[in-house]
Structure formats: C-alpha cells, structure tokens
Amino acid sequence: MAGNPFPLDKQALLKAYRTMRTIREFEERLHVDFGRGDIPGFVHLYAGEEAAAAGIMMHLHDGDRIASTHRGHGHCIAKGVNVVEMMKEIYGRKGGACQGKGGSMHIADLSKGMMGANGILGAGAPLACGAALAAKFRGKGEVAVSFVGDGASNQGTFLESLNLAAVWNLPAIFVVENNGYAESTSRDYAVAVDSYVDRAAGFGIPGVTVDGTDFFATYEAAGEIVKRAREGGGPSLLECKMVRFFGHFEGDAQTYRGKGELEDIRANKDCIRKFAVRAVNAGVVTHGELELIERDARELIERAVKEAKAAPQPTAADLLTDVYVKY
C-alpha cells in the first residue's frame, strides 16, 4: 500500500466523512419528514453541498465564528452544534437549540462559534466582519467565516463587507457557495461577472475558485485562506462550485431545472461518493469503516427525530421570555 496521498490523516478523513454523512442523513430525513407534514415552516436543505461545510470547518475551532445562511443545517453540524438539539429546533420544541423560537433558519450556538443561520440573504457578512473585528482586538488568531450563496453574493451587505474587511484588514473569510441557483434563478443570469475571483479582485482581496464537490480541493484551499487570515494576512474570498440536490426550499417542484439535470448531479457530482471513492481507492480507509459511520449517522438522526417528536412543546409562558436581557 502506498502512503497516504491526502493532507489529512486517517482519523481526520473519517471525521470529515462522518460530518458529511451526518449532514446528508439529516437533510434526507428532513426531506421525508417535511413531505409527511411533520415539520412546520420553511426548510432549505444543504444536501449535495456537504464538502464545503466539512472542508472549511475542519480548519476552525470553537473560538472561530461563522455567520451562516438560510441553508444552514450543514454549517451547524460541521461547526459542532448538537444534532439532537438542532432537530428539536426544527420541530419547534422546547430544548431545541433555540428553545423552538428560531426554527430551521435561525439555528445558532454561540458557544460553538455558530452565530446563526440567517433568514435574510447576505445579512451574515457584516456580522462576520464584526466577529473578525472582535477577533482582531482579542489578538488570539481567531477568524470569522461568512457564508453566502451565489444569490446573496449580489447583496449590498456582502459587497460592502468585502470592502470593509479589506479596509480594516480583518481575519474574515467570505465563502460563496455557488450551487448555480438563487432560488430558481440561475447564477449565470443573476451574477454579472463570470468569476468570483474577479469580483474579489475588485475589492483588492485574493479570491480562489474550487470544485466544491471535491472535498480535498475545498479543504486545501480553505486551509491556505484560514492560515493567511490567522496570521494577519487579511480577508479572502473562496468560491465553492457545488450542486444542490433538493429545491430552494422543500416543496419546490424545481421545474426550472434542465432535463436530466438532477439525475446527472446525483450520479456524477455527489461530493460524499467522490470522497469515499478516492479515500477507499487510495487504501487509506475501508468500505467497512465508512459503512460503520453511515450506520452511526443513521442511528443518530433516527434518535434525533425520536427525541424531537417526544420533546415538549413550548408553553404560553415561553412566548414572552428572552426578548431582552433586562427590560
């Protein structure tokens, strides 16, 4: 057997696989449960995009902050938010990550550096600048990562944040998760430049584009960018070209997709399958090891759903609490 060709040891590879597989199981299960009518509200699934969350978050610690998007479940899981509490939150239950008051679009766990999924597109970028500013004042080498989709990459908040981060030389990383669609509108229609590297250049910051379905490419690019930010080298932009396995939201019939498009991306651009094939073919991990992780992930999600359904509903008393620290 040749040596390990990857920049991660076996344990880290299995950890990455566990993160991605947990996200996939979580999202596939939500797809089913939402379709059954078990889950209230809006749900936006991250399935297909797992390599970005895992590849980037493996470089972060709890002290590093991320500002997520409406499609935030994957970021939460990869940043270490408790999966059972997440599920309870999505079911709107007490004991959820936000006591049932936030829901899918607002899961946060500040103790894990997860500043919140966000229902407002592009709103996380200024917040990440603030987190990066706080990190700069603290001087411990912490960084902040802002995620946006290709859609929100057109928001003024995002573009202003690129400028502010450059002007203040913040340890901020702007990740554009380009899944090709802003809701139903294609990226090619809505983004005026072909390359996000060019857009980053317009703000005087380095930009990199990677195949976001390739965990290893994402991991390596993110590693360099995070290292630069930690060392005081300032902000960067990372574009991950990726695919979205489900619709914009659950219930989206996706009639805007081309013929055979979904079948093609499921068959050929599945980041988890690509990861598994490479890791197994290189002889670093075995099918059996991956299957054990898959089983663990399925069991975890099954338990999460069971606990979420059994968790108590909030009561009328909960309606009025936690608006203010003190009022």
Binding site: L110, C129, T157, D322, V325
Partner: protein, 338 residues
C-alpha cells in the same frame, strides 16, 4: 461638583469615561476621528459635528473610522457585540437607518429571542434626530417610533446634558441593543453635569415640572418647548406638569399614569409624524389604563403628516411650537367634564 457643559461635551465625556473603564468598548462610525488615510491632521473632525473630537488622542485605534458603508459597519458593530465587544456605533443621522435597517431590526433586535435567550448584543447606535437645522427631508426626521415599535430594541432620547451622560453610560453598560437618539438642536445646550461617571436607568421618566392642572408628556427637544408652554400657561393660572419620557423603549407608562391620575388631563407632544407616534402610543395606553382619571379629551401635538420641508419658514411651521402646545393645553382645559 457639577459644572456646566454642553450636551455634546456630555456625550464625549461619557464615551471617554466608558472607554477608559472598559477595554471592550470601541467606537466606530463615519469620520468619528476624521482624516483617516489623508495627508493632513488626524482627528480632523471628531465626528461630523465634533462630538467625538479628542477621543482618538486618548484611545487611539479603539476608535474606528469606517467607509461610507452603513450596512457593513453597523452590522459589524452588531457582530462584534455578539463576540464580546461593547461597540458604540455612530450613525450620523437617523435618516440613514434605512440603509442599514435590516442589521438593526432583523439582526440585533432578534438575536436574543430567535436564539432562545442565548445571545447578548450589547451595542449602542448613536444617531442624530430632529428638525430645525434647515437640513430638509433626509437629515431631519424624528424616527423614534420606528424603533420603539421593534421588540428587542431599546430607544433613548434625552433632553438635557445631565440625562445624556447618565443615559449614555447606562446604554453602553446595558446588554441589549440601544438606539441612542441625540437631538442635534440640543448639542449646544448647556447644563449641570457631574464630572464623575454615573448612570440613569433606562425606562424611567422624569417629572421635570410638577403641576396639578394638566400633564404634558414628551421627550427630546419638545421637553423644552413644553416647559416654555407651561411657563406661559402658569400666568393664566393653568398649572402644568411636564413629564420627560427620556427612554421610549422601555416606556415608563406608570409615571405618566400617576401624573394623569393627579391632573386628569393629558397632552402628548411628539416631534415625530403623527401616525403610530410615541404620542399616539402614550395616548392610547392612558386611555386604556386610566380612562376613569381623565376629565377631558386627550390632546396630541405632533409634526404634520409630511416630510420635513427645507424652507426655514415651512420648517418652523413643521416643528411643534410652545404656542401649539399651550393651545392644546387650553383645548383640553376647556373640554370634558368640569
């Protein structure tokens, strides 16, 4: 020993003392130092009206000049507040809130509730309010009701240098987001201010003049117009009580109700436009909670339902005057059950 300083100096002193006391307090805004990156004087402006002048020399890089980019830097102040800092962001004019409103009402205001009580966002957004500067429709508004409407925000609008210093220090130490509204026409007003730091609790109104005939409830610049009206009315034998709300959220409705229970009459004065104003809110709450104490109709004096005009003649007509307030008191004194 108190000595007389201006409201502008009171703000500067509050910021200076809090920055000295607490290293997590940072101050950011457009031109708050001034001359960043230019060849001339540093601290060239100290804010567009010089409020933060001199702080840079003492606190250096904890004052951050920002690009003209309100969404980004107000959002950054909010984000930093979630991460252990205690930022005071200056948004030059409250009229600019529209540019960055999402960061305030969908982000800062919501975090604590939306995240199940886990978040604290100790940010202060200082901003100039009010008309009278001949600055026209986009630099003169009294938008306090917009913010008082939003659960999760606190809204302060002081009328005196003393209250300004105590309320600003309290706002900086407060763990919720505070919109701190400074009336630009009061910046030059001088008053007694103790040199040492002190706080005034948020949500406590102040009875600035006691009276038995009619309660005038207001805030900001209008406190002075109301007091002027009360002085004129005293000569007619009408003894007005003037209540300065000071904080609009939380609103000290109990002090207002106590006053109305004593006087039986209420005039609400608000420099904001009339619909859904602080005046309308206070009037409704009093009508609901103290109906039996009222001996006559509630009167309201507000700006008209128009933008702020530029013409000095029109702008003077736009801003509620002491004369209009006195007339409203006379109306309610004539009305109702005698």
């Amino acid at each position: 020993m108190a000595r007389k300083i201006s409201m502008k100096q009171a703000i500067n002193e509050a910021l200076d003392q809090e920055m000295t006391r607490d290293p997590s307090v940072i101050v950011m805004g457009e031109d708050i130092v001034g001359g960043a990156g230019a060849g001339g004087e540093r601290d060239a402006w100290g804010g567009v009206l010089g409020v933060t002048k001199g702080l840079y020399a003492k606190h250096g890089d904890r004052l951050l000049d920002t690009p003209l980019s309100e969404s980004a830097y107000i959002g950054a102040a909010i984000g930093a507040a979630c991460c252990g800092m205690r930022p005071v962001a200056e948004l030059m004019f409250i009229d600019f809130m529209g540019v960055c409103f999402d960061q305030i009402y969908n982000q800062a205001a919501k975090f604590r509730y939306m995240f199940g009580g886990k978040a604290e966002t100790p940010v202060v957004i200082r901003t100039m309010v009010g008309a009278g500067f001949r600055a026209a429709a986009q630099h003169s508004q009294m938008l306090t009701p917009l913010f008082a409407h939003i659960p999760g925000l606190k809204v302060v609008c002081p009328a005196t240098p003393y209250d300004t210093k105590g309320l600003l220090i309290q706002s900086i130490r407060d763990n919720d987001p505070v919109i701190f509204c400074e009336h630009k026409n009061l910046y030059g007003l001088e008053g007694d201010v103790p040199p040492t730091p002190y706080t005034i609790p948020l949500g406590e109104a102040n009875v600035v003049r006691e009276g038995k005939s009619c309660s005038i409830v207001t805030y900001g610049l209008m406190v002075h117009r109301a007091t002027e009206a009360a002085t004129a009315l005293a000569k007619e034998g009408v003894d007005c009580e003037v209540v300065d709300l000071r904080t609009l959220s939380p609103l000290d409705i109990d002090t207002v109700i106590e006053s109305v229970e004593k006087t039986g009459r209420l005039v609400c004065v608000d420099e904001a436009n009339p619909r859904c104003s602080i005046a309308a809110d206070v009037s409704a709450q009093v009508a609901q909670r103290a109906f039996d104490s009222l001996t006559a109709q509630i009167e309201m004096v507000t700006a008209p339902h128009t933008p702020v005009p530029f013409s000095p003649v029109l702008e003077d007509l736009y801003i509620p005057s002491a004369g209009q307030i006195a007339d409203a008191v006379r109306r309610t004194m004539k009305g109702g059950r005698q």
